[in-house]
């Protein structure tokens, strides 16, 4: 079972304390969203987990192995995309993937390159040099590199950065698909609250080098319904909703016991409203804003 443990991680860059004694455990598979404003310490935390920087104090472990003490061993089960990736410009995407396959000692090089390139839709670009890639293509290649070897732990730092809306959806779908198999730990750092809410099982908000909030996402009794048109004249009976409020096209609902999302959709339709989508909702945005003020 994959695991991650951060024990009292402090990181100083000169006078600046980027992380201040952060600790948390992740035991077993799941997708964990890391939210936080710029400079909060999110990326520093991920850099420590991937040996890009070393902690000033504390210990980071992947599958029980200390990253700073035994980086080669610990990173063998990690696939990472940290910050906006750059690659050796004169190597083709196929060569970069082949290099990573060899370093990660993955089997069946050709099959592995085909698998990750199909997942990230870069198959048609494999023989182009990385130096010719656009920002979005580099991002896709970075995700493909992270997926090589089917690692236990996937660390993705703003993986949808630079992608067009369909590319963003595709990346989220890949993450959801991997997470659905319940085999890996996926750490997703993002600025997009809705992205974390949509994809993650647990959300950690980092602020000023500390963990400000750590909660399991998608509480089953809180949902947000997005309608095709602004909300007018819609009521929910007590057997469907304990509380609800509307705002523009959105309705925020605390469901009554036993209410299913399909019951709510059905009710909206009966009231003459087409539902665009329903998503878990637990007011992360409000918490985020209050924490990071």
């Amino acid at each position: 079972m994959p695991s991650i443990k951060l024990e009292g991680i402090t990181k100083r860059f000169g006078q600046l304390k980027a992380l201040d004694g952060i600790s948390f455990d992740i035991d077993g598979p799941g997708c964990i969203g890391i939210l936080g404003p710029n400079g909060a310490g999110k990326t520093t935390m991920l850099k420590i987990l991937t040996n890009i920087v070393k902690p000033s104090k504390g210990i980071a472990k992947v599958n029980g192995i200390s990253v700073s003490e035994y980086p080669e061993k610990a990173l063998a089960s990690v696939g990472a995309l940290v910050e906006q990736p750059e690659f050796y410009p004169y190597l083709t995407a196929r060569e970069i993937l082949s290099f990573v396959v060899k370093i990660k000692m993955a089997k069946d090089e050709k099959d592995e390159i085909r698998r990750v390139s199909e997942l990230t839709s870069i198959t048609g670009y494999l023989d182009r040099k990385a130096g010719e890639f656009s920002r979005g293509m580099k991002q896709r290649l970075g995700i493909a590199v992270a997926l090589v070897g089917d690692p236990d732990v996937l660390i993705l730092d703003e993986p949808t950065f630079g992608l067009d809306p369909s590319g963003m959806k595709q990346v989220r779908d890949i993450i959801k698909e991997i997470n659905a198999k319940r085999e890996k730990i996926i750490i997703l750092s993002t600025h997009l609250i809705y992205e974390a809410q949509e994809v993650c099982d647990r959300i950690i908000i980092v602020n000023r080098g500390n963990i400000g909030y750590d909660v399991h996402n998608g509480l089953s009794d809180h949902v947000k319904i997005e309608l095709e048109a602004p909300v007018t004249g819609i009521d929910f009976p007590a057997e469907l909703a304990r509380k609800y409020r509307s705002d523009g096209n959105s309705i925020y609902i605390e469901k009554a016991d036993g209410t299913r999302n399909s019951d709510l959709i059905e009710h909206c339709r009966k009231m003459g409203h087409e539902v665009r989508w329903v998503t878990p909702y637990n007011d992360i945005e409000a918490i985020y804003v209050s924490l990071t003020k």
Binding site: T50, V53, E72, L75, E86, E95, I103
Partner: protein
């Protein structure tokens, strides 16, 4: 081959590809071809008119070996600078570019030791520098075979292995400087300043004031390549080795200095690279 060696071989191979496809490589190749082209032109034009460039020379008394030595000296003068420029091109940005171009974000997260990464990049840089230098040497050999009926002096071959040691030490030196900086420009400028300005200034001061040649400087040690090339005179294409009259102790001292530079430079580069952080 064990896992560590396989990873090392793979990264050397990919670094080598990235080097030989780079603009720096083609630029150095063009420079090498241009310089050797000019030298070839010069050799053809003046091989029978040495008095044009050396007016005091009595042409009738010049033996073929002397003629060859005169042109050999001119070719060797350029030859010793070529690996320096190549090493600066390929080595000075070796580590700083990983930070400046942000490729470190990818390679540091891979399950390969930083020592392996650095050593494989070093070997790749040495290989491309040797290729650039070989282009010049092959053209020189071809020119000499055509111009001088009595072919190359033996020192030409004997100096090549010293040149290879120099390439290893010069590249290691540029790697060390590169490890200190996170910006390529600083690394390039520092190598040039140290090698061409500080070393030369120190050498001049030492020779003028203290009447001693600082044998421990890399550029002084590298001059052994010229010495061996020009002084060792063997039968044409005879690979049997003789150290006279370049001097056994001179050669061994220079080799030792170059090896020490290689070891210390790489040790420092490895220590710094191992602790390198990308903020």
């Amino acid at each position: 081959m064990n896992a560590g060696m396989r990873k090392f071989a793979a990264s050397t191979s990919y670094y080598f590809r990235n080097y030989y496809r780079s603009r720096s490589f083609y630029l150095m190749l063009v420079i090498s071809l241009l310089v050797s082209g000019l030298m070839t032109y010069f050799t053809f034009k003046y091989s029978n008119n040495l008095t044009d460039i050396l007016p005091n020379l009595k042409l009738t008394s010049v033996s073929l070996t002397t003629k060859e030595s005169v042109f050999g000296y001119v070719w060797a003068y350029v030859l010793i600078e070529l690996p320096v420029f190549s090493s600066v091109f390929f080595g000075s940005s070796a580590i700083s570019s990983e930070i400046e171009n942000r490729t470190a974000f990818q390679i540091f997260t891979l399950p390969i030791s930083r020592t392996s990464l650095l050593l494989s990049k070093y070997i790749a840089a040495v290989m491309v520098t040797i290729i650039i230098t070989l282009v010049y040497l092959v053209i020189q050999a071809g020119t000499f075979l055509l111009v001088f009926p009595a072919p190359l002096i033996g020192g030409f071959f004997n100096s090549i292995w010293l040149l290879v040691i120099f390439i290893f030490s010069m590249t290691a030196f540029t790697f060390m400087i590169s490890s200190i900086f996170n910006k390529n420009t600083y690394a390039y400028i520092s190598v040039f300043l140290i090698y061409f300005l500080i070393f030369n200034a120190y050498q001049i001061i030492s020779e003028f004031l203290y009447r001693s040649t600082p044998f421990y400087l890399l550029d002084t040690a590298a001059s052994i390549v010229e010495k061996v090339y020009l002084n060792v005179s063997l039968s044409p294409f005879n690979f049997s080795f003789s150290l006279n009259p370049a001097g056994y102790s001179d050669i061994m001292q220079s080799i030792l200095v170059m090896i020490i530079y290689t070891i210390i430079s790489m040790a420092v580069a490895l220590i710094i690279f191992e602790r390198k952080e990308v903020k």
